[in-house]
Amino acid sequence: MIITINGRQCEAEHGEFILDVALRNGIQIPTLCHSEALPGLASCRLCIVEVIENNWSKVVASCVYPITSEIEVVTHSEKIKRMRKTLLKLLGARAPQNAYVRKLLAEHEVTPAARFQGDPDENCIMCGLCVSACDKIGAGAISTVYRGIAKKVSTPYDEPSKTCIGCSACAGVCPTGAIKVQESHGKRIIWKKEFELLSCAVCGKPFITPEQIAYLKAKLNQEIDEILCETCKRKAAGERFAQTCADLTASKGLLR
């Protein structure tokens, strides 16, 4: 079906989320808690848009709003801009010194409200993307604990988790860089747990924990004979591909 975003006609599948359609068509909607690899959380609320249907307008979170009819979407109406500013003001109050939040505030021309005295050491905006990533990857080592103003992300009993595999996916998806990972001398410390780091067989960069290897082996149900970092793995695959192409050209006498 065809939907209209900011006056532009966009092709969309039934049930697709507005945000995905917008991004595919190069229409920018600000987000914090969105990751393409994970389901929408609708917790940061920055991706709010106005949906106009049957002359009625409503504000929805575009990352979780499924398209079921030929709607009209406005991503930067005056109302949305005003609401987004308020949301950013609150985020700024939560994590006043966070570099990324400050950047967003500047981009949207929001001045932090003086009456909010946030904790200068706070970087987490409680979006829960890290928890979602940890669940998806399978370890499920972290979760949100307590409630209200005491709510935070933590391992059970605030202790080093037995199930954490040290993959640092949580830190990787965190939009504000709130999760601290320390890496030095072939060791990684995350969530108070220390991991040994294994090195890439080619470039020698320490990058993966033995727990991750064991987890991958169990999940893929196969042996992992060579430990390669992402860059070297890509390089090896590229070389293999180039070799195959060269072989094919040579054997069949094909010319480009």
């Binding site: 370890a139 949100t144 059970p156 009993y157 199930t163």
Partner: protein
């Protein structure tokens, strides 16, 4: 009683609770409530056992246990006193009741007496606004509580030894 023996009993009771429900994730809260009812808190052993049994990560159970005010991870006294501090009770001076109880028991809300007899808590509403200020000890409700009545009520539970 030794620590191991106590731990064994907890594990055995948790097994009984788990046997009473289908092995499905949606019964998590019901199971936790049963354990809470028996021990007045959720022992760590129980939480770990439940995690294995249901195949739910421990972090998720810990999240539930810390979210609900009716569940506790800290051991409680033999009798749990919950004083309502909802709007209706608050304007009828529920804090005076809390202060009085705190003075008699020599503990602050959220704490347990050193003899392990009483725990004092405040809650946001007991749903008994008509009899404000209200409090509940274990499962017995007391309405229109006055500071002078508190000691009397505590006596029903064996009173306070440490004075």
């Amino acid at each position: 009683m030794t620590v191991e023996k106590n731990s064994q009993r907890i594990l055995s009771y948790t097994r009984d609770v788990m046997a009473g429900y289908p092995r499905e994730q949606r019964f998590t809260l019901a199971m936790l409530q049963d354990i809470q009812k028996k021990y007045k808190y959720i022992p760590r052993e129980s939480l770990e056992q439940l995690s294995d049994h249901l195949g739910v990560p421990l972090s998720k159970l810990y999240s539930i246990a810390t979210f609900y005010k009716a569940l506790s991870l800290q051991p409680k006294g033999d009798h749990v006193i919950r004083v309502c501090d909802g709007t209706a009770c608050h304007i009828r001076s529920s804090m005076v009741i809390v202060d009085e109880l705190a003075k008699i028991l020599m503990i602050k809300p959220g704490e347990t007496t050193s003899d392990g007899k009483f725990s004092l808590e405040t809650v946001n509403c007991l749903g008994s606004c008509a009899m404000a200020p209200a409090m509940v000890i274990d499962e017995t409700y007391y309405g229109k509580v006055t500071p002078s009545r508190t000691r009397e009520i505590l006596n029903e539970y064996g009173g306070v030894d440490c004075e």
